[in-house]
């Protein structure tokens, strides 16, 4: 029960990723490593593959995620409400609009920008077939997070986090296990109001993170923080819906591009 749902996908390891890791361990010079790390047998339609992978990176909003939400939607889902002034974390002060009768209010304009960046990154990771892990230690929303992950074909971990899940994965699972390529924290605190251990572990393992940071959270180690409320059920449902739609959209787009490439290659 506590082991989470990380599955071992030893056969799905990408070539360059494994080769790069092995060669860097050997201490070869970078130039020879790079030359040797090129894909050994370049298939004929490699240009199509690279075009599929590189073309979305040239556009600022390839998946048109800005049409998924408006500031009014965020407002009605109560994303802007923070905790009381006494619970405020010092590093969240840039993201606050102000404080009204001791209640902190987050700036939704900044939140909208951060959310756009986070969703865009999620979409690109999902487009390239990355593994996404949802983490939330809020027991009130554990079931919601797990169903969200199931509905978009990704993974979730809403139980107790054992110490070495990421840092000691080859021992705790098996050698050659594939770690997630993106971790999304729907609440960055654990049950005792301390930062979740997964944030620090993901930073150690070079895994990018997206995190919904409330006014009492520490946004330091998170790659794409999204300042917002993480306590109201309506807000969490909105976040889950947005991430699910982003990931599904990205995967559908990838399937569509593969189909087009298949059609153009056969023609």
């Amino acid at each position: 029960m506590a082991a989470g749902i990380l599955t071992r996908v030893s056969q799905a390891l990408r070539g360059p990723r494994l080769v790069g890791a092995v060669l860097s361990g050997h201490g070869h010079t970078l130039s020879t490593a790079a030359a040797a790390a090129k894909p050994p047998a370049a298939p004929i339609d490699d240009t199509g593959e690279t075009k599929i992978l590189n073309f979305p990176l040239t556009q600022p909003d390839f998946f048109r995620l800005s049409e998924l939400y408006t500031i009014k939607d965020l407002f009605e889902a109560r994303v802007h409400l923070g905790h009381k002034k006494g619970c405020r974390h010092r590093l969240m002060e840039p993201y606050l609009f102000g404080s009204r009768l001791d209640v902190d209010i987050l700036d939704l304009d900044q939140t909208a920008e951060h959310l756009q960046r986070a969703l865009n990154f999620t979409a690109h990771v999902a487009y390239r077939g990355g593994i996404i892990l949802f983490i939330s230690r809020r027991r009130q929303f554990g079931h919601l997070v797990e169903t969200t992950a199931r509905e978009c074909g990704e993974y979730a971990h809403t139980r107790y986090w054992q110490g070495g899940l990421l840092t000691n994965a080859p021992v705790q699972y098996s050698p050659g296990v594939r770690l997630p390529d993106l971790i999304i924290f729907l609440s960055t605190l654990n049950n005792v109001f301390q930062p979740h251990v997964g944030i620090r572990d993901a930073a150690k393992m070079n895994i990018p993170t997206i995190g919904v940071v409330d006014s009492n959270c520490n946004p330091s180690l998170i790659t794409y923080p999204v300042p917002g409320n993480d306590d109201t059920p309506a807000t969490m449902e909105m976040y889950c819906r947005l991430f699910k739609m982003t990931i599904n959209r990205a995967k559908d787009k990838r399937r569509q591009m593969e189909l087009l490439r298949g059609i153009s290659a056969s023609v």
């Binding site: 802007h80 905790h83 006494g86 209640v103 304009d109 409320n229 306590d231």
Partner: protein, 192 residues
Amino acid sequence: MASLCKVMRNMSARYTLLPKPRVFTTLKSPYSSEVSGSTGEDAGTDDKSAERVKSGFATAYELHSDLQQQQQKGDRSASVRLSSRDETSFISLLRHSPLMQMGPAKDKIVMGKIFHIVNDDLYIDFGGKFNCVCKRPSVDGEKYQRGSRVRLRLEDLELTSRFLGATTDTTLLEADATLLGLLESRDAKPKE
């Protein structure tokens, strides 16, 4: 009509030369030159009569806001002021939201909806960040089901307190409210 026009034209000419502090034009006096400058040659009389019909403050306000928009186009404060007028911006939404208009939460009567029940505890959401938990009252106890609308008197939006030796407040993640009763309006709509 022609004599009236001539009188008004003379008056406008006089105002450009010597803006006297009259009640009618006190608010417009800094802009009176520009007004007559812009409307001097074309239908000045009609314009003047139209302005005469509108009260002086209304026209002055419009002029002032137009000039403000022209002068402070790139200014940050202007964008804040303009966005508070734009109905869908965050600032204007916040300003007109019930939570802000309400003021301090102490002793305010609000409407809530029960979304979860555990034996005798009712978890009620009233639109704030947190929900409140109230005991099921002895009178009409079985009428309080999931989806019932109730009246609450708020005490606090979030129960927090700083304990000795702590750096931050400890929060209970809950609001505090007293249950007043079911919502009186009989809507004849069946409860979900």
